[in-house]
Symmetry: C2
Subunit: 283 residues, 2 copies
Amino acid sequence: MNETQWIHELLDSSGSAIGFRVREHLHHEQSDFQTIDVYESTDFGRLMALDGCWMVTQRENFIYHEMLAHPALYSLEAPNHVAIIGGGDCGTLSEVLKHDSVLSAIQIDIDERVTRVSEQFFPELCASNDDPRVSLLFEDGMAWIAGCDEGSQDVILVDSTDPVGLAEELVSETFFRQCHRALSDQGIIGMQSESPLLHVELLKTLRLRLANAGYSDIRHHLFPQPCYPSGWWCITLARKSGQFQDTPCRNVNERMECRYYNAAIHQASGVYPTYLRAAFDDE
Amino acid sequence: MNETQWIHELLDSSGSAIGFRVREHLHHEQSDFQTIDVYESTDFGRLMALDGCWMVTQRENFIYHEMLAHPALYSLEAPNHVAIIGGGDCGTLSEVLKHDSVLSAIQIDIDERVTRVSEQFFPELCASNDDPRVSLLFEDGMAWIAGCDEGSQDVILVDSTDPVGLAEELVSETFFRQCHRALSDQGIIGMQSESPLLHVELLKTLRLRLANAGYSDIRHHLFPQPCYPSGWWCITLARKSGQFQDTPCRNVNERMECRYYNAAIHQASGVYPTYLRAAFDDE
């Protein structure tokens, strides 16, 4: 590829597309689970796509990774043990490790190749992978959580692809029950939960399943996500006991050098537009 | 066009693209100023593009139009006289008219064809155009503001295309000075001001020019914008005197039936991510 070209992700289910101008196709492989592509783009740094869906760009992945990690971890005084289901690019892991209270961070991604490709092409996301607190496991997250010691995790983050195919089980009530069992008394599950514009019905389904699985409080945080459909995304948090506060429950450590997240963003990202309030009020 | 096809806006300056799947090309014309296209899409209702850039989709334009109108108008106790420069699709106008205090709403768009095409294909945006408070002018906004009576407008909203070509003058210090002159003592200028991810330098330039033009306080509100580059957008507000409050300065009227905007969104949309705070702190 000597000249630039445009590569588009065409999302059939939403009838919308996001594309980037690329100058080089750096990597392509078919792993045991999915295709993995890495491109050098003209304006967004390197891009990774799984099965043709944009996952990460170097320019803006900080928003997603910070927002998946910090609202959850700052909803606890001192999270010690964190598990990440999925998250093979290690960006969420690197944010989790910024919290001094964290003693163990276990990442369970079914596809080792995603992590190996990230180590090669996105070294900044993997810079903390040799932290002694880290365990990288390459196995099925559903099976791992079923065998996880009861009450052993303070936070479980689900950093999955879209909830179809591979990741469909990760939004099931069965999975939410197994996470509930694996969480400590004050524990929190946090998951990427798609677009607040395109996937309102999915959000309502998640809320119902989490409530059925025994969680005591559910909250969403909304944020921009330029490389995902609609450019707008959210995470869903649920507590094993107690209620979420509107604000971080401890001082946000500015030495962590977050580029997007701060205490005011924690609160602001938890505010819902009117139509979403109405959708949840119907429950 | 018998089958669906994908139409992409390729934004050269950002190296990113946004596309939609369309089933019918409803309208195409070359006006005196730009090309105007309307498509029927599979998932976002009708779409309008000016010079190949997506301007409006029926599915999500409520976010942009509410956020351009309401944070500005809810920063005043009782805005009476409102001017909209640009805004030919009339969506911003329809939001402005929801405020009972508004006595006159003047829309000045250089291209009458945008409004006529909107009346035909986006009638829901134009439903209030025959409100007796409305004046639709089709002339140059720069010339209009230069001749506008001093102190005659409480709010001036700039709902323009990207600040290149036609709309470049609408971000000039000269224009901001003329608006300042046309505003009443407590008056507010509000403008669409591009992507908080892609256009940080433009925001810094706007802030400098607004300060130079004599405005006393400047504030941005951030919101999702699925059909514009990066999917994330902002407005910039500036006051002729006094300071912005964090919250609406009067009760938000729920009968207005906003789908995105509410009092909590007013406050939340004014919170900046850490990198943007840092960019502004450098000033």
